[in-house]
């Protein structure tokens, strides 16, 4: 129960402290101290009415104490705007929510992408360094170094703790959304569910930027995909969308994703995430409107210029009943090193009754497959030919 309160509060508390102290490390230290005091006291006293405000105030006081103690930093005391905070007056509304500033600092494109991801999970998500390390299959030492390098660069290069101005915002928002979506796509391993974490972050972003359609777009996309994940595997086997057991889908989550998508569209969202969410949403309908899906992939291809999107458009064309047109599209793509290029060709050739060529394509896909479920899936397809 306490752990949940801490997880919910961490991002806000840390953001407020970074804003106050202007230093990531000091903010983190102070936050940790405050959380430790809370862990000690709250079981006896109960959780205060405004846990966030309590934590921020306690952490601020601890930080000020520490700065006072460190004589070498004595002159910096004069820079602190709030010298005394009163411990028993908690007014949560008085503490500004600075998580948006924190997001834009953590997702600053001047930081290496792996650093952006790690810092976002640590600072906003409140995940422990050890858990982040495990989720990305690196040692705790490596993750610690990654985090401290990112924090050191923020400090040394003057990466601002601020929401970018209007002329910079579209690009910077794209960068932040890309980080969240990347976290989502890392899937999950170990104790931490990165997909669920990314959805949490996406939700926070839509709360903080309620007029940004792409923020709703990415949230909708993640939710709708996430809702289907139990149906995506049968034991260890991959299950294609058309063969998925829909009773395994999380329909409440799909509805939530749908609502986020509606909001994005109402805000005139036409960007890549909104289109992808719309595609994911169409794919939850029964029957699926494949011509419409193909049309949306065409729009997405226009936006992204990605041959992988063209490949998906081809799949939709085939599902809409035109495997020959689909194969023509696929054969025009330069994706020889891509597993799904070959598996898609295999499937299209199979449907067109060209078994020998299909076999060849599946073999090529198998050469490129690394995960065991993928290999098993392709081997099964080959056997069925």
């Amino acid at each position: 129960m306490l752990e949940e309160v801490f997880r919910v509060q961490w991002g806000r508390v840390l953001a407020s402290l970074v804003g106050f102290l202007g230093d990531f490390d000091k903010a983190e230290e102070a936050a940790q101290e405050a959380f430790a005091i809370a862990a000690e006291r709250w079981p006896a006293t109960g959780v205060p009415a405004n846990p966030g405000a309590w934590l921020v105030t306690t952490a601020r006081n601890k930080a000020i104490d520490r700065i006072r103690r460190e004589r070498t930093l004595a002159e910096k005391i004069h820079l602190l705007p709030v010298p005394e905070a009163v411990m028993d007056e908690f007014d949560e509304t008085a503490i500004k929510d600075e998580r948006l500033e924190l997001i834009f600092t953590c997702c600053h494109p001047a930081l290496p992408l792996d650093g952006q991801v790690a810092l976002t999970l640590r600072a906003l998500g409140g995940l422990e360094t050890a858990d982040i390390a495990r989720a990305f299959l690196v040692s705790e030492e490596t993750m610690k170094r990654r985090l401290s390098r990112a924090k050191a660069k923020i400090k040394a290069t003057g990466i601002p703790f601020a929401v970018p101005g209007a002329h910079l915002l579209p690009d910077r928002l794209d960068a932040a959304l890309a980080v969240i979506y990347l976290i989502y796509n890392e899937g999950y391993s170990g104790r931490v569910d990165l997909a669920a974490e990314a959805i949490r972050l996406g939700r926070v972003l839509t709360e903080l930027m309620p007029d940004e359609p792409e923020a709703y777009g990415v949230l909708a996309l993640m939710m709708i995909h996430h809702a289907r994940r139990r149906a995506r595997f049968s034991g260890d086997d991959l299950v294609l969308l058309e063969d998925q057991d829909r009773s395994l889908w999380d329909h409440a989550r799909i509805a939530e994703g749908q609502a986020a998508l509606d909001r994005a569209i109402a805000l005139c969202g036409r960007g890549a995430y909104v289109v992808q969410a719309a595609i994911a949403s169409l794919q939850t309908a029964e029957p699926i409107d494949w011509p419409q899906v193909a049309e949306l992939y065409r729009r997405l291809a226009e936006l992204t210029g990605s041959p992988v999107v063209e490949l998906n458009r081809a799949v939709a064309l085939a599902q809409a009943g035109d495997p020959a047109a689909a194969l023509r599209t696929v054969d025009g793509l330069d994706l020889d090193g891509y597993l799904y290029f070959h598996s898609t060709r295999g499937e299209l050739l199979r449907r067109l009754g060209r078994a020998e060529e299909a076999r060849e394509a599946y073999h090529r896909a198998l050469e490129l497959a690394t995960s065991i479920p993928e290999r098993r899936f392709l081997t099964k397809r080959l056997e069925q030919l």
């Binding site: 600053h108 001047a110 290069t157 003057g158 601002p160």
Partner: protein, 112 residues
């Protein structure tokens, strides 16, 4: 906070521009030096004028040419005063080399 904006560009790209455009680009770069943020702006003579110096065993050794033999050469730098990295990036983006296939490396200056 002070930042150095180090400008790397491909001289061939610049020389391939029509005369009038070259003059405009030069004027644009010169105007940057007058910007309020600028502490100083230095433009270097072409890389062919470079001499590399090393000291080995107490002897001073000289070689002709720039240190690294790449298409993009260090052409000059701009020292600016700015509040944060975002402001510097905006300044860096105004350096003509950045849009002519070159690159501007931004580094904070060690405070003294």
């Amino acid at each position: 906070m002070q930042y150095a904006l180090m400008i790397y560009s491909d001289p061939a790209r610049y020389e391939a521009l029509p005369e009038a455009e070259r003059a405009a680009v030069s004027a644009e770069f010169a105007a940057l030096a007058d910007d309020a943020a600028a502490v100083s702006a230095v433009q270097l003579q072409p890389a062919e004028t470079a001499t590399c110096v090393r000291v080995a065993g107490g002897r001073t050794l000289m070689t002709d040419g720039p240190f690294a033999d790449t298409k993009e050469v260090f052409g000059g730098f701009w020292l600016v005063e700015a509040a944060n990295l975002d402001d510097v990036v905006e300044l860096a983006a105004r350096i003509p080399a950045a849009r002519f296939g070159g690159v501007v490396e931004v580094r904070p200056v060690v405070a003294r």
